[in-house]
């Protein structure tokens, strides 16, 4: 087991942007680190650099105390699980799991003992003599993991290992991987584009975008204190509602105005986002998590309530997702909407509110939504930085 540390690591291709730009990230011994981000963000490249499958253009990469920049993959003592499992199709499960040991000239008895052990651990004992093509997706996934754990490597690397599984199996394997990592205590670097996986699995999560590290933090902190607009938009499902809004000060209270709606912001939010008063009279981006809406009641403060027309409502049983549109253009970052499926040229922004499941909301119905303004997030409209003092972009 070993720590992994990136120091100013860069990966650039001949003609093209940097896939990974000046990445500095320390992964502790025994830590479960998740790298997450949209496709093309450089997370897989970072992982493959640890594996030695990609050359490092600049900076240093250490595994344990060793700088591994120039050490070939086979000598790094790491194991990797690939998205498509990359099992050797012509070898049985046992041969697949034992291949690394065979290459390392471990004795036959020892190989058998260790493959049996790994197969036992993963519940593959009855399949050891089958070929990969005779296994289900979940079983193949387990074989790929068996191939990794049988070597007791310094570090496990996993490259979207669950994305080829169906939803139910994915949930099951997710907890199996968490358990396995906890039991073995091996350092794990896990790449995914699925922020739910990232939130549920990682001790810490590193969010990347366009080769740049955005934030490294435990899942809850990512959620509660996003380091910038991108992290705010990326983490959470449904995503945070981000709206361009103007900050005003009315009778000493801060208000935010977007389209025809004006809400008064709770002081608790201003305490967290202490720079907000500096932005009075200016445009910012406000972020409201879907669960911070509620159906307005008679007791609700009208200053924290908006009336809006439901476009679609999805009942999840325990909750209802109310979709609506606000007449403001979608929030963009570097010319692209932060919400991946929004249309950059649209003049309206879709918002989603999560309200309790007993409400019945019909299409086209006007609903009154109360906003828990204590939980509103504020970001600079041009830089995307949060409007608070303790800016912690680096980890």
């Amino acid at each position: 087991m070993s720590a992994v540390s990136f120091t100013g690591v860069t990966k650039s291709y001949k003609d093209g942007p940097k896939a990974v730009d000046d990445l500095t990230l320390n992964i502790a011994d025994g830590e479960f680190m998740v790298l997450v981000g949209p496709s093309g963000c450089g997370k897989s490249t970072a992982l493959r650099m640890i594996a030695g499958l990609e050359e490092i253009s600049g900076g240093t990469l250490q595994i344990g105390d060793t700088v591994v920049n120039d050490i070939p993959p086979g000598d790094r003592d790491i194991a990797m699980v690939f998205q498509n499992y990359a099992l050797y199709p012509h070898m049985t499960v046992r041969e697949n799991i034992g291949f690394a040991l065979t290459v390392a000239r471990v004795s036959k008895d020892e190989i058998k003992r260790r493959t049996d052990e790994a197969a036992e651990l993963l519940g593959l004992t009855e399949y050891v003599d089958r070929l990969p093509k005779a296994l289900s997706g979940g079983q193949r996934q387990r074989v790929a993991m068996g191939r990794a754990i049988v070597r007791s490597p310094q570090v496990f690397l996993m490259d979207e290992p669950l994305s080829n599984l169906d939803a139910k199996l994915r949930v099951q394997m997710r907890s199996e991987i968490i358990e396995l990592q906890a039991r073995l205590g091996t350092t794990m670097v896990y790449v995914t584009h699925d922020q739910v996986e990232a939130m549920t699995m990682g001790h810490r999560v590193a969010v990347m975008r366009k080769g740049l590290l955005q934030q490294v933090a435990p899942p809850q902190e990512l959620y509660l204190r996003p380091a910038n607009l991108f992290v705010a938009a990326f983490i959470g499902s449904p995503a945070m509602n981000l709206l361009p809004a103007r900050i005003d000060s009315v009778n000493g209270r801060i208000t935010a105005t977007f389209a025809e709606h004006t809400i008064t912001i709770d002081q608790a939010a201003i305490d967290k986002y202490s720079k907000v008063p500096d932005y009075v009279g200016r445009d910012v981006v406000i972020g409201i998590r879907p669960e911070h809406f509620a159906m307005a009641e008679d007791t609700s403060d009208p200053a924290q309530t908006i009336e809006i027309k439901s476009v679609v409502s999805e009942s999840m049983g325990s909750e209802v997702h109310v979709h609506a549109t606000v007449d403001v253009p979608p929030v963009a970052l570097d010319g692209q909407p932060v919400n991946e499926d929004a249309d950059a040229n649209a003049s309206t922004t879709k918002i989603i509110a999560r309200v309790e499941g007993f409400h019945i909301v019909r299409m086209g119905q006007i609903v009154r939504l109360a906003i828990k303004t204590a939980h509103v997030h504020f970001f600079d409209a041009t830089t995307g930085a949060p409007l608070r003092d303790d800016d912690e972009r680096t980890a």
Binding site: G52, P73, A79, H90
Partner: protein
């Protein structure tokens, strides 16, 4: 499965389709049938009229059947007699009598038959004795128009019946009898055996060499990044477009320089490198997911080990395709051997060459020519039957799923 149409019209169409297909198949297969049948015929049996596809041999009976000793006796039927006759003696003196009152009536009897009446008659200015002979119980007067030698035929049904007759007026009985000795004769007497060994040797080495060089080259083109790789690959591909005839003269000169004329090496070395095979293997290797190799790399395997323990086992279908094509090409190649094995030294002949000499203009042993052809034909047909799916299969995508 496609849905089959039903109804009388569809049935008619199907019958017609199969009818045409069967007819075409028969036409195509006919030369093979002729070759196979001729290869087991006796040489005398080939140009008989009417021609027959069935190889025949003369029917014989053991000499002991007619109370004699010695070799088996051929069996005939005689015009005017029922049953079969064994030719017990083919050196019997015979006499041919012509009836006095009917010059068209000619009777053949044993030379000592017929009683001289003492009278004579004048035939074309010659005095001929007149004989009284008995034909079918009737006594007629005739003169002896010819003395000759013929056969004595013993009836197989009636021990008392012996018929002297001209052999060429008897009809030999034949029965089904393939002559497999043709094959051993062509192998030993016509030196096909040596050619067969040569061909086997050349083919096996060429195929193994092609597989080896194609695997190495294909892998390098598919996975190893070296300067000028794509240019070299284009060059390789381009060479596939060059017809072989264009290469014959330079290749011949090269062989002369190397002093490889009349040497089997000249049939092997130039053909162990194949752009086509390299291309085939490259296409296959490119299709293997990169992750499989990366996984092996992480498992600590060297490139060499990855190639032989991971990639090559996966490439078995492609290798089988390559081997099949290589085998057929090497086995059937004729023109290059004809050019380079040219001093008439049959020790370096390959089958295709031997066959061409065997079947030359002055050839008389047609059956042996065909026997040699059948020997040459069998291995490719066998290979094709076993490996035909590799001809059809899309070689690059198989084996992974």
């Amino acid at each position: 499965m496609s849905v089959r149409r039903k109804g009388p019209r569809a049935t008619m169409v199907r019958i017609l389709t199969y009818g045409i297909l069967v007819a075409v198949a028969l036409v195509v297969i006919f030369p093979f049938v002729v070759a196979v049948s001729t290869s087991v015929k006796r040489n005398t049996d080939i140009f008989t009229y009417p021609p027959s596809l069935i190889p025949k041999k003369a029917t014989t009976v053991p000499a002991s059947d007619v109370g004699l000793t010695g070799e088996n006796l051929p069996v005939y039927t005689l015009p005017g007699f029922d049953g079969s006759f064994a030719l017990v003696d083919d050196d019997t003196p015979l006499a041919e009598f012509t009836a006095l009152d009917d010059p068209t009536r000619v009777v053949v009897l044993a030379a000592d038959q017929g009683d001289k009446t003492g009278d004579t008659t004048n035939i074309d200015g010659e005095e001929e004795d007149i004989f009284a002979i008995v034909v079918d119980g009737e006594t007629i007067l005739a003169y002896r128009s010819r003395l000759t030698v013929g056969g004595l035929f013993q009836s197989l049904d009636n021990a008392a019946l012996q018929v002297p007759s001209l052999v060429n007026s008897a009809v030999a009985k034949q029965e089904f009898g393939p002559r497999f000795e043709n094959f051993s004769e062509v192998v030993t007497e016509k030196k096909i055996g040596r050619s067969l060994t040569n061909t086997l040797l050349v083919t096996i080495i060429v195929v193994l060499g092609q597989i080896l060089t194609s695997i190495l080259g294909g892998y390098a083109f598919a996975r190893i990044d070296f300067t000028g790789r794509s240019a070299l690959f284009m060059l390789y591909l381009g060479s596939v477009m060059i017809p072989f005839v264009v290469l014959i003269i330079p290749l011949f000169q090269l062989m002369l320089q190397l002093n490889w004329r009349d040497n089997l090496v000249a049939l092997i070395v130039p053909f162990t490198f194949t752009a086509y095979g390299t291309f085939l293997m490259r296409q296959f290797f490119v299709g293997v997911p990169k992750e499989i190799e990366e996984a092996a790399l992480l498992d600590g395997a060297s490139r060499w080990r990855i190639l032989w323990q991971v990639m090559v086992p996966l490439a078995r279908p492609a290798i089988a395709t390559l081997a099949t094509f290589g085998f057929l090409y090497a086995w059937n190649s004729f023109f290059w051997p004809l050019v380079i094995i040219n001093s008439g030294n049959p020790d370096s002949f390959v089958l295709s060459l031997s066959l061409s000499t065997l079947g030359g203009r002055s050839s008389t042993d047609t059956n042996l020519v065909f026997a040699g052809a059948v020997i040459a034909m069998t291995p490719p047909i066998a290979v094709f039957l076993f490996a035909q799916r590799y001809f059809v299969e899309n070689s690059a995508s198989s084996g992974l799923k």
